[in-house]
Amino acid sequence: MKAPRFSYVRADSVAQAVALLDQHGEEARILAGGQSLMPTLNMRLSQPRLLIDINRLDALAGIALQGDRVRIGALTRHVEVANSAIVARHLPLIAEAMPHVAHVAVRNRGTFGGSIALADPAAEMPACVLALGATLVLQSAAGRREVAADDYFLGLYETARRPDELLVEALVPVQRPGTVSVFMELARRHGDFAIAGMAFHLTVARGVVADARLVYFGSEDKPTLAHGARTAIAGRRMDEASANAAADALEHDLAPMTNVQGSTAMRLHLQRVLTRRALAVAAERARAA
């Protein structure tokens, strides 16, 4: 189908974009990479009155190491993140996740910030920024504010971002020595929406888990930080027994939505299988480090 009628403004500055958001609120949509917005327009699932195109706002793009954090501009394309030496070195979780983000042509256009702003429950980047404890920076006509990823994802496509705010960047703490990360995803076709997936970030000291941020996506209405599984593995050696304990505890952490991809029970089963596999990989990586 064809998109419905809308008005279109190509923003020349962040100030102009947020002024338009301030004026039009929920009747406006930000057009970043458009890889999720354009399908909904073509299928007439959304009918915004105004599209605010931010693709010419170069200030919103780019990756830079700033002290102990990596700044990823919201307009940075997935392909730039995938090819970034800074990300490969300091954010190996995101580097490992990136090939799973859709397909080549979509990664060439889709943006890091767009994925986080949309907060699709099956998307990879929201899970990664949550696992890494990133900070998300929002800008409105009134000013900037920072929101911790822990407080950002609220529900199905629902975030702490207000309608008058533009997500401008993510500040992601670098992965330090002594931490280990694993990303895994199951999809019917490579690059398709996840049936099950996880982004793990563990702190390991002498083979013992000091802390574990275990984030599951493609299950609930938003990325889920598993508290029970975290407790089950904290303070234990990384072995089969502790991996099994974490997978068992998942039953109380996670209630995957039943959808066309499968039932709650099947999708919980898949997350538990992947959990055991991912923790085995994490143990390998911790030993090798």
Partner: protein, 160 residues
Amino acid sequence: MSEETMQIAVTVNGEAVARTVPVRQHLVDFLRTELGLTGSHLGCEHGVCGACSVRVDGRVVRGCLMLAVQVDGAHVVTIEGLDETGEIADLQAAFVARNALQCGFCTPGMLMTCAELLAQASPMSRAEIRTFLSGNYCRCTGFHAIVDAVETTLTQRLQR
């Protein structure tokens, strides 16, 4: 709401083009209806099938997921332009030799994506080729012959 339009100036297959377009028109409708470049196909029109793949500023994108107004000032290459430059003449020959197309509907988009794979000029396994092409649907060939053609062409280019 009346139909809102905007003027754009874009280079398509090396040729400068200026048009006034509806702001809601996507890139492939513009290429097909305004410029008569019907090699870019519309399959699903929501970013799943890859038949609409075109190159914008050097990278392959979904033509149905970009608005025509967004290519103002950009360089667009369609399958017609890619064919004309001879950049993938070897790949096209391999597609014919391996029978890597049947109905041909997906072929323009498939070739656009394959062109990006070949341009990277790095060795790839058959599994990696399949993964690279995962965003392009073919409903006739079962992909095997397409992977053959890409593998053959890539191997030949890397030996040069």
